[in-house]
Amino acid sequence: MSKIMIIEDDEVLSLELKELLTLNGYEVELVKDFKNTIDAILNYNPDLLLLDINIPYLNGEVILQNLRKKSNVPVIMVTSRNTDMDEALSISLGADDYITKPYNPNILLLRINAILKRVNRISNIINYKTLIINTQNGTIKNQDKEIILTKNEMIIFAYLLNNKDKIVKRDELMTSLWNNEEFINDNALTVNISRLRSKLFKLGYNNIIETRKGQGYIIS
């Protein structure tokens, strides 16, 4: 389980962020004492840091600058300042990404996931039961049988597999597709899911993607 540390002085916001991330399978720690932020970060040793710019004592940019002398932990700046200038400054100080408030929770999760994947060099191979899924070249293998998924089908399947045992809303799948520049509509999503199901059926897996009515889809 990846550890994420949140540095945000707005109490409501930080608690809600914690809840969102915990629900999505991360271990989360909040910084409460902003006087010794850097020590707190180094002590907790997180896999990723969500850092607000407007915080008491030292602002986020200064913290980032000092932190970079001691640690390479991935940092996402989360702020309500939305100019390119602020963003460029943060990136030049060593931030890995920059998200402005108010953010779309799905996008925040996707960005966190993308960075962790990059840092941890998570491989492109996902194993599920006897299936070997290669997200890079879009193939699924079951023993000696192999089929090819389209880009859209692979995005959907990979997202469901990465969120195994969790109900995935259509909305989340949509965001993940659009985030990959596949701007499809509702009908196309339905079509893609049924094509994916029939391809999986050919490999001998019937109904691994279950529909939860009014909620979404789940692979368990």
Binding site: N82, K101, N179
Partner: protein, 337 residues
């Protein structure tokens, strides 16, 4: 300043001079002075007075015409005092002093108002950033409690859009704008705008068709995202019946890149098309959609001209609206690379 009007102005002086000459002339006749002497006196009188009048005329002409010319040449007429020399003659000195005092008082006033405007801009920016915090908390809280349905999402997005519009209005009206031009990926910007409007597009069943765009342009990405957001908001707002779509494509020309956003919405009536970029203009379509503020395209145009992009709109009523943004390819930047 011309001679005719000057002489007209000096008419009384000239008449008095002539009258005095005439009296002297009569006196000379009465004292039986020789006719040759009278001619010499007349000659001297004419020469000296003409020289005096013309001398005065040219001195003033030089001063006033200089001011008038410079005023015409300057785009900020109030700076004229900086361009002229302090005159030597008494009348000119008074005029100069008056101009100086007026100018000074006006500058003080303008400075005061500029300061107030800048304070106001800072305050608005700060305020908007403050408001975004509770807005972020609200949307996360609703999301975590599974209360964030389509309706609330759309309300929250409206709030965000209106907040942002104010922010960019303040930014585009201000001379000292804080933009940052760098090379950005056009496809990435379209993706961000797309995701931002995803819910609205899906709920309104507007297809978002984006051609593969592998082009880079020089711009401020946040500003461009705002501009595109305004255009796409309009397309959604003014969609027409079924099979609505927004099509985004780009043309790579020799020295420009043209981004085209086309929809098949209700279009803009011919009588309105020239006005759409004007402040608070809503036109015929504004009567159909009650939430039209007439600010979106005005701000978009303003931002475009600051960034050096050209924004154009063409439309056939009831058929389509096509907005294009033209980016210059900057050879200067290419050399630097």
């Amino acid at each position: 300043m011309n001679l005719k009007d000057y002489l007209k102005d000096k008419l009384i002086n000239i008449l008095i001079l002539l009258l005095s000459y005439f009296i002297v002339f009569l006196l000379l006749i009465a004292f039986k002075v020789k006719i040759s002497l009278i001619l010499v006196i007349t000659f001297i009188f004419l020469i000296t007075n003409t020289l005096l009048i013309m001398g005065d005329y040219y001195k003033k002409k030089k001063f006033y015409n200089n001011i008038l010319n410079n005023i015409n040449k300057l785009d900020k007429a109030y700076l004229v005092l900086e361009t002229i020399n302090k005159p030597e003659f008494y009348e000119g000195k008074i005029v100069y002093q008056i101009l100086y005092e007026i100018n000074k008082s006006m500058c003080e006033n303008v400075n005061l108002i500029e300061e107030q405007l800048l304070d106001f801009k800072d305050y608005i920016e700060m305020w908007i950033h403050e408001v975004k915090r509770p807005l972020a908390s609200l949307s996360l809280t609703l999301n975590n409690n599974k209360l964030l349905d389509i309706k609330l999402k759309s309300i929250l997005k409206n709030l965000e859009d209106y907040l942002e519009q104010v922010l960019y209005y303040v930014r585009c009206e201000n001379a000292a704008s804080d933009y940052y031009i760098k090379e950005v990926d056009l496809g990435n910007i379209i993706k961000n705008v797309g995701i931002r409007n995803m819910d609205d597009l899906l709920n309104n069943k507007v297809d978002f068709k984006v051609e593969k765009i592998n082009l880079k342009v020089y711009t401020d990405s946040k500003w461009l995202e705002f501009i595109l957001n305004q255009i796409i908001n309009n397309s959604i707002k003014y969609k027409k019946g079924k099979n609505s779509y927004i099509k985004i494509s780009a043309i790579d020309n020799v020295d420009t890149i043209k981004l085209i956003i086309e929809d098949n919405g209700i279009g803009i009536p011919k009588s309105d098309i020239k006005e759409v970029f004007k402040k608070t203009f809503t036109g015929e379509n504004g009567r159909i959609v009650p939430s039209a503020t007439g600010m979106g395209l005005y701000i978009a145009k303003n931002l475009c001209s600051k960034l050096g992009h050209k924004i154009e709109i063409e439309s056939i009523f009831n058929e389509y609206t096509r907005v294009s943004i033209t980016f210059a390819k900057n050879k200067f930047y290419d050399v630097l690379k």
